[in-house]
Each structure stands twice: as structure tokens, then as C-alpha cells.
Symmetry: C2
Subunit: 199 residues, 2 copies
């Protein structure tokens, strides 16, 4: 096999992942045949499976990519940005997750492969949450793990509603309630003061 430069390799990876994402969204996971993957990606099966061992590997990589994107967005741009991003995800792509729910629940090996990769992302976020707790931006009477899990729960709810075609609550309502749930001392003091002033 001819050696290619790291830059060329990264470009190829992106081409494959982008095409696979489109193909899964358009045809569903089961419907994304190798022939359709080739057409959407614009590369032969030999080239594709030189980078990813299987269709399953492609999905795992895309799921990990989503987790990393959302995680970085939360860290760098805040809660509102990540809520907004989830609400802008393509319902057809979310449908691929939904299609694989049973498989994730019942196939321990498949599950382990996704979790293993996602766990590499979690500690970075947890450290960020702990720092926010030290600065009083987040409540500290619960662990960073619990706060992160609650945010994740709400994002899962949004993704599921969106996949179902439900109308989720407006972004600002979700962000406000979420911040009031996990927010630190400063935020709580403000909330407690407001109604007293109004009374």
C-alpha cells in the first residue's frame, strides 16, 4: 500500500466519516449497504475499509465524534450552545442512534466499544465541572459526576424528542431551568432574591 502523508490521511478520514454520516442518515443503519456507502463517500470499499474495519466501526467513530463535539462545545461555549446544537441535529441522523438502541442494550461487545471510547472524553469534562464548582459557578453539594449526568440526561431527552418529531421546549426555557438546577451559590442567591423583591 502506498504511504500517504498525515494531512492526506486526515482528509480521507473526514471524507469517509462525513459520507458515512450522510449515508446512515439517508438510508438508516441497516439500509446503508456497502454499495451505498461507496456512492455517498466517493471511494471504493477497499479504500473505506482500509480505514475502518466495518460498518459498525464507522458508526462507533461517528458516535464518539458527536460526544466529543458536544463535550467541547459545552466546555468552550457553554450550556446554551450545546443545548442549541442538540436541537439542530438532523432528526434523520438521530434516527440512526434510535435504530441501534436495542443493539446497544443487548450486544455487550458493541456497547463496550462505544463506552470505552467515550470514557476517554468524560474525564476532561469532569475536570472542567469540578473547576466550575470551585469557582462557585456550579453547585458543590452534588458531585461533578452527578451534575454532568443530569445535563447528559436532558440532552438525551432533547435528542429523543427531536428524533420523534416532538416539539421540545424552547432553548431559553431549557437553559434557564438547567442552569437553575445545577447552578452555584451566586445563581441561587439571585433566584431567591427575585421573588422576595417582587412580593
Amino acid at each position: 500500500m502506498p504511504k500517504i502523508s498525515p494531512a492526506r490521511r486526515a482528509e480521507r478520514l473526514e471524507q469517509i466519516l462525513d459520507g458515512a454520516r450522510r449515508c446512515f442518515a439517508r438510508h438508516g443503519y441497516e439500509g446503508a449497504t456497502v454499495t451505498r456507502l461507496e456512492a455517498e463517500i466517493g471511494l471504493s470499499r477497499g479504500a473505506i475499509f482500509n480505514y475502518f474495519r466495518s460498518k459498525e466501526d464507522l458508526f462507533v467513530e461517528l458516535a464518539v465524534e458527536d460526544t466529543a463535539t458536544m463535550s467541547a462545545l459545552w466546555r468552550d461555549a457553554g450550556l446554551e450552545a450545546v443545548v442549541r446544537a442538540v436541537l439542530e441535529l438532523d432528526p434523520a441522523w438521530l434516527g440512526v442512534y434510535v435504530e441501534l438502541v436495542r443493539r446497544v442494550r443487548t450486544d455487550a461487545e458493541f456497547r463496550r466499544r462505544i463506552e470505552e471510547r467515550q470514557e476517554a472524553i468524560v474525564p476532561v469534562n469532569r475536570a472542567r465541572l469540578e473547576e466550575a464548582q470551585r469557582h462557585g459557578e456550579l453547585r458543590d453539594d452534588l458531585g461533578a459526576r452527578e451534575l454532568g449526568a443530569f445535563v447528559n440526561l436532558v440532552l438525551n431527552g432533547l435528542a429523543f424528542q427531536r428524533a420523534s418529531g416532538d416539539e421540545p421546549p424552547p432553548v431559553d426555557v431549557v437553559v434557564r431551568l438547567l442552569e437553575d438546577a445545577i447552578g452555584g451559590r451566586a445563581r441561587r442567591d439571585t433566584r431567591a432574591r427575585t421573588p422576595s423583591a417582587a412580593a
Copy 2:
């Protein structure tokens, strides 16, 4: 057709719905053939479809039953009870919802039939939320509709995590964060006082 008493009729309905729920959970929606429905329910197709026009009708009825159960539980036993109930739902049954997500999103008529029935339940709950707002148990700077939608969002997240075999956050963590998000003045005052006392 012989006339049967209302009590006998209600009993039959329950028998059919319980059996259909077990059958869907065991075989999935697509896998629940008429023959399997007959076996699980213990009635002939003639008897079953005398009560419900189609398999689709059976699912709609079960979905509405779930909404009504959760709604009544929240109203009568509180938030913790409903969170706990969602966490105890059979993942295999939740998988049926997941299986139908695409259909609900893309089939407007199917969607309308479910929503129409669920909307009859929502006003009762909304009235209960508004009452809780007047008593200061829930915040009143957002509408009852928004508070209800947020709770629903969190419950959807829990259901989706459970269907995926994920470990949701502990019940008490979810309830505490949820109550802090939607709670009224009394709760906010307590939360604001606690850290000051600790400082």
C-alpha cells in the same frame, strides 16, 4: 354479536391490552404478528379486533395508557414517584416506542391520533401545576406549560437511557435537581440559605 356487561367489557379490554403489551415487548412491534397477539392475549383475532381496529390502535391505546398512568402518578404521588416509575419501565417495552420513533416522526396521521388522545390528559395536569404555582410550590416566573414540558423532557431522557441500557443517574439526584429547577420560592430560599450557613 351477543351483548356483554360493562364490567365484562372492561375486563376484556384489560386482558387485550395487557397481552398486547407483553407481546410487543417480547417480539417488538413488527414481530408482534396477529398469531402471536392471539397466543399472548388468549383470544381469537375476531375478538381482539372487535375491540381494536388494528395493531396500530393497540399501540396507540397503550401509549395513551402510559401517559395517563405517569400523569396520575405525578399528580397523586409526586415527582419522585413518577421518576421512579419511569426507571422501572421494562426496557423491552420502551424499545417498542423506540422502534416506532421514525413512524411517529414521519407519519402525520399516526402522530395526530396519539397526540389527540394525549392532549385530553394534559389540561388536567396543567391545572394541577398552576395550582402548585399559586401555592408557591412551583416557580411562577415560567408558565405551567414550560415546567411540565421540562419534566417531560427529563422523563423522555430517562426512558431513552433505559431503552439503551445506559445507567441513568440515581433517582434521588434526578429528583433533587429537577425540584431545584422547577421548585417555588420556599425551596429557593432554603437552597440559597444552605451554602451561606455552610460558608
